[in-house]
Every structure is written in C-alpha cells, then in structure tokens.
C-alpha cells in the first residue's frame, strides 16, 4: 500500500508487518514521552539526580550518542575531504545515524536542564570560557549541518524526487555537500572536544581534571579522537543489525573492511594516547593534588580498577588489534566482536567521565556518592533509542540509504 514511496526496485516487508513493528517501538516512544512530560511539568525531582549527581544518566547518554554518532562526521570527512570514494556506499547510513544521535542529544539536553524555556540563554548570555557554551554552539551548528546533509537523501525518495523543485534542490545540495561536510567535520571536532573538555577543565575534580594544550585539556583531544575512532564501529554495528534483520547484504565487504580498518588504526592511535594520558594522570596530575591512582578505584561498591581494564584493554586494545589485522577483521565473527566492543568501549569511557567523576569524593571527609536512575530517567533515555529505531526504519524503507542494495540483492528484486 506504500509501494509508491519505496525506492524503485527495492524489496521491503509488507506494510502491516512494518506498521506493527513501528507500533511496538511507538509504545516505548510514548512511554518515554510521558516520562519527558513528567520531567518538564513536575520538574527534575522526577529523577534520582541530586546535588552530588547534577550530571547523571542523561548526560552520559548525551555524550555516548554524540560519540557513537561521531561516525557521521568522520566518515563525511573521509569521503568528502579526503576523497575516499568507496565510503559513499555507507555515508548515507552514517549521516542518518548522526542525525538521529545529534537530534537525540539536543532533546536530552532540553529535558536535562532545569529551565528548558531559558536554555537559549546559553547563546544570549554566552560565557566564552565555558566548555558547555562551546558545546552548545558547535552542537547546534553541526546539527544544522547534519540536517542539510540529510535533506538530499530525503529528497531522493521516489515520490519527492518526482517534484522538479525537490529534484533540483537535492541535486544542488549534493553539489555543495563537500563544503558542509568539511564544516561539519570542523564543528564536530570542536564539540566532541569540548564535551571532553567539560570534564577535563574541572580542576576542582581531580578524577576528571587533565592538563592540556592552551585552553584545551587533553580530554578535549581524546574525546574528538575517540569519537572519530569508535563512531564508525557503531555505524558498522547498525549496518550489521540491518543486514541481520533484513536478511540482506547492504554494503559490500570491501567498504566495510575499509571503514573497519580505518577505525582500527584510529582506535590504535587513540588507545595509545589514552594510555599515555592515564599514566600521566595517575602518576603526575592526580598525585600533585594529593590523590593516588587507587583513591579513585577503591572504597566504593562499584568503581574498581576493573572498569579501567575493561575500557582500555577489553574495549580498546582488543578491537584495535582485531580491526588492524586483516585476517581478523575479515573474519565476520571477530569483526562483529570488535565493533561491538568498540561501541561499548566509547560509551563506557563517557560513563566514566561523567558518572565516576560525580561519584568520586574530593574532600577528605566526603564519601563516594552512588546513584541509581529513576524510571523516568531510564524512560527518557530509551526515548531517543525508540525514536532512532523508528526514524532509521522509515529511512531504510523509503529512502535509498544503501546505494549498493540493489546490486547486492539483484536476485531478490521484484
């Protein structure tokens, strides 16, 4: 019944099946919207955040989606600026994921602040010294760029494309896309970095504080680098999920392996930098503030050294080795392990840089603060996931997200 909208030649599941799937996810979405409404109308007392946990689950989710959405800017950079042409076969997916991640991030921020109706003060009364101001500016600008990158794809919809205006608009936008991709990459480098800076500049919090270059703490660069490194892992994860669900091959292996290899080398360089940073922090920065490495990983019920091992070894070195070794990354299972670990690793890094920062005591007589999110927080965090699933499903169904789909599935075409 919606066949007129479906890309020409592509095979999609029957509409009722699709509609049912969307409806199921839609229920989850509504649950999230309800929780969001509670937070807006009743206030943030609906959460389990407190004066120790001003930043909690949401900010982690925010940082995590931005990190894993980093595939968009990095792939765009590779495709349009460095001219790696094969990546055009996955760039649409990266852009859609990026769009979802960034719109989610903005939504989360709008729920997270105590006075959403005043949130524009961040622009109007901007404090140029604040990393958060930098985040806000770069994030909203980059979101605009992502929108511009997403629009031509929408315009490629079979029905829309028939309208000459849209057709021409889309065509022209494609023409200027390199400019936007470059701008986007630049903006993204900054806001990924400034999100890292958010934690790194807090010189009152030895767990988070890092020295750095000029006004930027090392976390600034580590965040940008890790988003670029791990973002493609998530793009690939989504691709694999798609292929699993649709039981189709959607992108050619050479493209996947190329992106995996690039990601692998990025992770390798990142994790070396991260290890150096961690060692310097543990042996120089923190001791200069009177704290030992183990102060940050003991006397509490949750945060042990295991979390650092998990982040750096299991989710850093392991995927780096797999993805940089041709034999391993071309093994389907190992590739899958690597990209999942990678995605998890960057999310874990963001968790540590938000939640563990809040948990670790600084005053000698203070104690570790623990926190368990309320259902409203969980629901509003799942909300963007549901929204993302719906949006990406719609995109896949109605837009030519995968240019190689038809070629790879020639035998299945109607």
């Amino acid at each position: 019944m919606d066949s007129a909208l479906i890309p020409k030649g592509a095979k999609r599941c029957p509409f009722p099946v699709f509609a049912l799937g969307i409806a199921v996810v839609g229920v989850v979405l509504l649950w999230g919207v309800y929780a969001m409404g509670l937070c807006w109308f009743k206030g943030l007392n609906q959460t389990n955040m407190d004066d120790y946990y001003g930043f909690a689950l949401w900010i982690w989710a925010d940082l995590a989606v931005i990190a894993i959405g980093g595939g968009a800017f990095f792939t765009g950079l590779l495709r349009y600026v460095f001219g790696i042409d094969e990546l055009k076969n996955i760039i649409n997916l990266a852009v859609v994921i990026g769009f979802i991640c960034y719109s989610s991030a903005l939504l989360i921020l709008a729920i997270d602040v105590g006075q959403p109706l005043r949130s524009w003060f961040i622009f109007w009364h901007a404090n140029v010294h604040s990393m958060l101001t930098e985040v806000a500016f770069c994030l909203s600008l980059y979101f605009s760029v992502l929108t511009i990158e997403f629009v031509p794809l929408i315009l490629e919809n079979r029905k829309l494309d028939k309208v000459p205006f849209f057709h021409n608009l889309g065509h022209n936008m494609h023409g200027v896309m390199a400019v936007f991709a470059a701008t986007g990459a630049f903006l993204s480098c900054f806001h990924q970095g400034s999100l890292g800076g958010v934690a790194g500049v807090m010189y009152g919090r030895p767990f988070a504080f890092r020295e750095g270059l000029l006004v930027w703490p090392w976390t600034f660069f580590l965040f940008t680098w890790s988003a670029a490194a791990y973002g493609p892992c998530f793009t690939l994860c989504v691709l694999k999920m798609f292929e699993k669900i649709t039981k189709k091959k959607l992108v050619k292996d050479n493209v996947v392996h190329l992106l995996a290899k690039i990601s692998g080398w990025m992770i390798t360089t990142y994790i070396i930098a991260k290890i150096i940073d961690t060692v310097y922090w543990a042996t120089v920065t923190a001791p200069s503030q009177g704290q030992t490495f183990m102060d940050f990983y003991s006397n509490n019920p949750f945060y042990g050294v295991w979390i650092l091992v998990l982040e750096i070894v299991v989710c850093g070195i392991v995927p780096a080795v797999i993805l940089t070794t041709q034999k391993f990354r071309e093994n389907r299972k190992l590739l899958l392990v690597a990209i999942i670990l990678g995605t998890f690793g960057v999310c874990l890094n963001r968790w540590v840089m938000v939640l563990q920062v809040m948990a670790a005591p600084v005053m000698t007589f203070d104690t570790w603060a623990m926190y368990i999110p309320s259902w409203q927080e969980v629901a509003t965090t799942i909300l963007p996931v549901a929204y993302g699933v719906i949006l990406i499903a719609l995109a896949y169904r109605y837009l030519p997200v995968f240019p190689q789909e038809l070629e790879l599935n020639a035998d299945q075409q109607d």
Binding site: G43, Q115, P287, G290, M363
Partner: protein, 279 residues
C-alpha cells in the same frame, strides 16, 4: 569595578575557628532564615537538601576512646580560582554567566533568573557548596509571611548557593553612600552566620585590609594567592588551587590534615611549611 578609597579592591572572606565551633547549627538556620531557603517534609536526604551553610562532622578515624570529632562549617568558598584571578571552578564553567566573580568584593554571585539549570557548576565545585532546586519551593500556608524581601526566593530548576549575604553588603554600601562615607566599616557588613554564631567561631571581613580581624587571624599571603601564613590556618583543598576565601583555624593537627588530600608521608613534609612554598 567599585573600589574603596585606597583604590584597592575588597576581598571579603571568612575565618572559622574549628576549635570553638560546637556544631550547634545556628549558622545553618541563620542562613536559611536570612536567605529564604525553603524546606521540605523530608530533609534527611542530604544530597537533596538545600543548606548554603552546611556543617560537616569529621572524625580522626581512631577507635574508642581515642576518637575525636570536629565540626566544619562549609559555606560557599567564594574561590578566587587558579592564580586568584576570579576563574573560580564554577564561574569558569557556567555557560550563561549566571554565576560570576565580582572583582570589587571577591564574591561569587549567582543570578537565579539567569541560571537555566544545567548544573555544570555543581559538578565543578569540589566543596558541594552548590544546590539545585529540584523542587518548587513551597512554604506552609501563612509561613511565606516571614520571607525577607532582601533575597528573592528561587524558582524550581535553578542552582543556588551562599552569597556571603551579598544583600547585606549592598545595604551597608548604600548606607555609607547616604552618609557620604567612602567605605564601609568592618562591622557594618557581617554575614548572617557570623552574626548568629553563639560560639563566636566565625569571623568575617576584608582579607585585603590588614586592619581587619580576618586578615590578622590568617595573614593571607598576597604573593601566594592568599595562602595563610598562620601555620594553624588552612583552606579546604588548598592543593587544587581553587583559592577559597574561607579559612579554617585549628590547633589540632589531624583537623588541619583533613583539610586536604596528601600522599603518604607528604603531610609530614608540608605541615610546618605554611605560606612558604611557592608552588
């Protein structure tokens, strides 16, 4: 930038004598009462309980009967930040300049109508001196009659904290202006907690003015971001270079040690070295 007749800025600060403090809580309530701080039915969740002035109870960690305790009142430290240039941990991170450093008084302000509740400042403050209005402030029927017009009640969703009773400073300045005086007297501007403390444990004044008691008590080292020269005085988390304007004094070594983090053996080296090490 308003300056006094000597052309020098004020730097208001506080000295708490921890050996006199009995932990009675007068300062906490005087502060709540002066500043229209709201209260809820259950205030036992201390991480969701607005207490601009909070009194911590700390112990020496020894077992019975060697145990000792000390009460440590903790208002906002009004940090001067690294280099004492006004880049307090919180001020430097606030994205909307809703909290700012007033160079003429050294006071860290908080503009409730500007704050949009991102809570970054709370994360940045190692002293947990900042409080978020998770709830709409509500007074039982009739009790809003005691609210003071000098301090506006805060709305839900914004951060608040100790202001060193800034409205009292304004009032003192206004009075001085009307009386055609160039500057205010030491006793004209005192915070509500200082005034209420029955033990006289809190002293308040201008750390830039050698005539003021606070100055004489701690001897702030102007060349070292105000680090106290008095070996019995210390500031909380001195090593983070937040440069607080709240000083503590105690004869007890374990109390002074509890003011900051030290690696093993470090305390022995620095404990008698106050104000001399230019880090």
């Amino acid at each position: 930038m308003k300056q006094d007749k000597h052309g020098k800025n004020h730097k208001f600060g506080m000295v708490v004598d921890l050996d006199k403090c009995t932990g009675c809580g007068s300062c906490m309530v005087a502060c709540m009462s002066e500043n229209n701080v709201p209260f809820k039915e259950d205030e036992s969740r201390k991480k969701d309980s607005i207490t601009w002035m909070r009194v911590y109870k700390i112990t020496n960690g020894k077992s019975f009967p060697e145990t000792e305790i000390c009460y440590m009142p903790r208002p906002c430290m009004h940090c001067g930040g690294k280099g004492d240039h006004g880049h307090s941990p919180c001020v430097s991170v606030c994205p909307a300049v809703a909290t700012d450093y007033d160079h003429s008084s050294g006071i860290v302000s908080q503009i409730y109508t500007r704050c949009f509740g991102c809570r970054y400042c709370m994360g940045a403050c190692p002293y947990h001196a900042r409080y978020f209005n998770w709830w709409d402030p509500k007074w039982p029927e009739g009790m809003e009659n005691y609210l003071s017009p000098d301090v506006s009640p805060r709305m839900r969703g914004v951060v608040e904290k100790c202001s060193f009773c800034f409205h009292r400073y304004q009032e003192a300045r206004d009075r001085a202006y009307v009386e055609e005086r160039d500057d205010i007297e030491e006793q004209e501007y005192q915070t509500a907690c200082t005034q209420a403390c029955p033990a006289g444990a809190i002293t308040f004044g201008d750390l830039n003015n050698p005539d003021h008691e606070v100055y004489q008590m701690v001897e702030p080292d102007a060349h070292n971001c105000g680090k106290p020269k008095n070996p019995k005085a210390f500031r909380l988390l001195e090593r983070l270079q937040t440069n607080p304007k709240v000083y503590y004094i105690s004869e007890r070594e374990w109390v002074r040690k509890a003011g900051d983090n030290y690696l093993e053996g470090e305390w022995e080296k620095v404990k008698n070295n106050h104000g001399n090490d230019h880090e």
